[in-house]
C-alpha cells in the first residue's frame, strides 16, 4: 500500500502541558482510519493540525513521498486535504453554492463546477435541497451537505471530526453509508469518533490515542 502521508515526531503542547507525542503517523492512500480515545485526549487536535488549523511541532512530514514542513501549512496539503467540523457550519447562501464554494475558491471553470456539484449532491442525496438555505436544514442534512462540500474537492485526505455525533437513526445511517464511497473513490479518510458502527466499519484501520501516544491496530 502506498503511503499518502507520513508525519514523524508530531508533538502538541499547550503551554507546559504535552498533549501528545506521536512517533510516527502513517496514512496509506485510499484507506479509512478510525481515531479513538477518551474525551480531551487530543483526537480533534490531531485532525485540526493535519488540516492546518492548529500549530504543532513535527520532526518530518512527507506527502506522497514529497518532504514538506507543517508550518507554514504547505499549499500541496491545502489543495489535497479537506476537513469537516464536528458540527459543520454552513455559509448563508444556498446549498448548491455551499457545495461549490471550494471549487470557486480554487478557480475551477464554471461548467466543471456545475457538473461536479451536481454529482456531489446526487451522491449525498441532497439534490432536492439545492436551492434551500442551510438554516432550514436538519442536522443530518447539514452533515451530508458538509460531506458533499468536502468530497466535491476530490481530496486525497478527508478529515472527519465526529461525523455522526449529533445524529441519530436514519440520518446517522445515511452518513455512515457515505464514508466507504470516499475510500472507494481513492480518498483516505480519518475519522475521530466514539461511534461503534464507525469503529467497527469493515476495512477501517483503528488508531487509539492514549496517554499522549498513538497505538495502531490493523484493519
Amino acid at each position: 500500500m502506498t503511503a499518502l502521508l507520513v508525519v514523524q515526531g508530531l508533538r502538541k503542547r499547550f503551554g507546559a502541558r504535552l498533549l501528545f507525542d506521536i512517533e510516527t503517523l502513517t496514512i496509506d492512500a485510499g484507506s479509512a482510519y478510525v481515531l479513538t480515545g477518551s474525551n480531551g485526549v487530543g483526537k480533534s487536535t490531531i485532525l485540526r493540525i493535519l488540516a492546518g488549523l492548529e500549530a504543532a511541532d513535527a520532526a518530518g512530514l512527507t506527502f506522497l513521498g514529497q518532504p514538506l514542513g507543517l508550518s507554514p501549512y504547505p499549499k500541496t496539503l491545502r489543495q489535497s486535504v479537506a476537513y469537516v467540523h464536528q458540527h459543520p457550519v454552513m455559509f448563508s447562501t444556498t446549498v448548491v453554492k455551499n457545495i461549490g464554494y471550494g471549487l470557486v475558491a480554487r478557480k475551477v471553470p464554471a461548467p466543471e463546477i456545475a457538473r461536479r456539484v451536481e454529482a456531489a449532491m446526487e451522491w449525498a442525496g441532497v439534490t432536492h435541497l439545492a436551492a434551500r438555505h442551510p438554516q432550514h436544514l436538519s442536522g443530518g442534512e447539514k452533515q451530508r451537505v458538509a460531506l458533499a462540500r468536502a468530497k466535491v474537492l476530490e481530496p486525497k485526505l478527508l478529515l472527519l471530526d465526529e461525523p455522526t455525533s449529533n445524529l441519530d437513526g436514519f440520518a446517522r445511517e445515511q452518513v455512515i453509508g457515505l464514508i466507504p464511497d470516499m475510500t472507494h473513490a481513492g480518498s483516505s479518510v480519518i475519522m475521530a469518533c466514539h461511534d461503534k458502527d464507525l469503529i467497527g466499519m469493515p476495512g477501517a484501520h483503528r488508531m487509539k490515542l492514549r496517554d499522549g501516544r498513538l497505538q495502531m491496530r490493523e484493519a
Binding site: R78, H87, V89, F91, S92, A105, Q135
Partner: protein, 234 residues
C-alpha cells in the same frame, strides 16, 4: 404657541423650495456620503484585521479603538484645524474652509465607529466560518469577504452608526468648514447658527430634514442588510 408657529413656519419653508435651505441639505448629504464612502472600506479592513489576527498589543489596539469612540468631534475639528491651517503640516492641501476639509473631518469621525463595530461583529462571528473557508481553499481575501458576508448585519450596523455620527456632528464641520453659506454650511451647523439668530423656523425645518434623512438612510441600509436571521452562519 411660539413652538407651533415655528413648526408651521418650518413646513412652509420646506415646501416653498427655498434654495438656501436645500443647498444646506445637499452639502450635508454630499459630504457625509463621500466621507462614508472613503472611510468604510478602510475601516472595515482595519476592523477585520484587528479581529482576525493575533498580534502583540492587540488588547491595547482594541482599547484605543473603543476609547476613540468617545472622542468629541470638536477635538477632531481642532486637531484638523491645526493640521490644515496655512502653517500646519497639511496646509499645502488648502482644505481649510472647504468641502474637502469637511469630508476629511467626517471620514476621521466615522472611522473609529466603523472599526469598532466591525471589530465587534467579526470577534463575535463563529470561528468555524473562517476555518471552513480556509480548509475549502479560500484565499485570505475570500475568507475575509466570506466572514464579512456572514456578519453583514453587524457591518451594516457599523455603517448606519457611522453615517449617523457624521451627519449629526457639528463641531468638526464648523471648525474645519467654517460654516460658509452655500459651501460648507451643513444642516447641524445651520441649525446652530439659525437658533443663535432666533430663526427657529429654519432650525426646526432642518431638524425635520435631518430626522427624515436618518429614517430614509436607515431604511435603505436595513433593506441592504437582507435577512438578518441568515446572517450568522447556519
Amino acid at each position: 404657541m411660539h413652538l407651533i408657529e415655528a413648526i408651521r413656519g418650518a413646513f412652509a419653508l420646506l415646501f416653498s423650495g427655498d434654495a438656501a435651505l436645500w443647498q444646506i441639505i445637499w452639502v450635508s448629504v454630499k459630504t457625509s456620503t463621500v466621507a462614508l464612502l472613503i472611510a468604510t472600506p478602510v475601516a472595515i479592513l482595519i476592523g477585520y484585521s484587528i479581529a482576525a489576527h493575533k498580534f502583540r498589543g492587540k488588547r491595547i489596539v482594541i482599547w484605543l479603538t473603543q476609547a476613540s469612540l468617545s472622542l468629541p468631534t470638536v477635538m477632531i475639528g481642532l486637531l484638523l484645524y491645526l493640521l490644515l491651517s496655512r502653517q500646519g503640516p497639511l496646509g499645502s492641501l488648502q482644505w481649510l474652509f472647504t468641502q474637502s476639509g469637511v469630508v476629511f473631518g467626517q471620514a476621521l469621525i466615522a472611522t473609529p465607529v466603523l472599526v469598532a463595530f466591525t471589530l465587534a461583529a467579526v470577534q463575535a462571528a463563529d470561528v468555524r466560518i473562517a476555518e471552513t473557508a480556509i480548509t475549502l481553499g479560500a484565499s485570505r481575501w475570500r475568507t475575509m469577504f466570506t466572514v464579512l458576508h456572514e456578519v453583514r448585519f453587524g457591518v451594516m450596523a457599523a455603517i448606519i452608526n457611522g453615517f449617523g455620527r457624521v451627519i449629526a456632528e457639528v463641531g468638526s464641520a464648523i471648525m474645519v468648514g467654517g460654516n460658509i453659506e452655500g459651501q460648507t454650511r451643513t444642516i447641524t451647523a445651520a441649525i446652530a447658527l439659525e437658533t443663535s439668530k432666533g430663526e427657529f423656523a429654519q432650525g426646526i425645518a432642518l431638524g425635520i430634514v435631518l430626522l427624515a434623512i436618518a429614517l430614509i438612510i436607515n431604511a435603505l441600509l436595513m433593506v441592504l442588510q437582507g435577512d438578518v436571521q441568515s446572517a450568522t452562519g447556519a
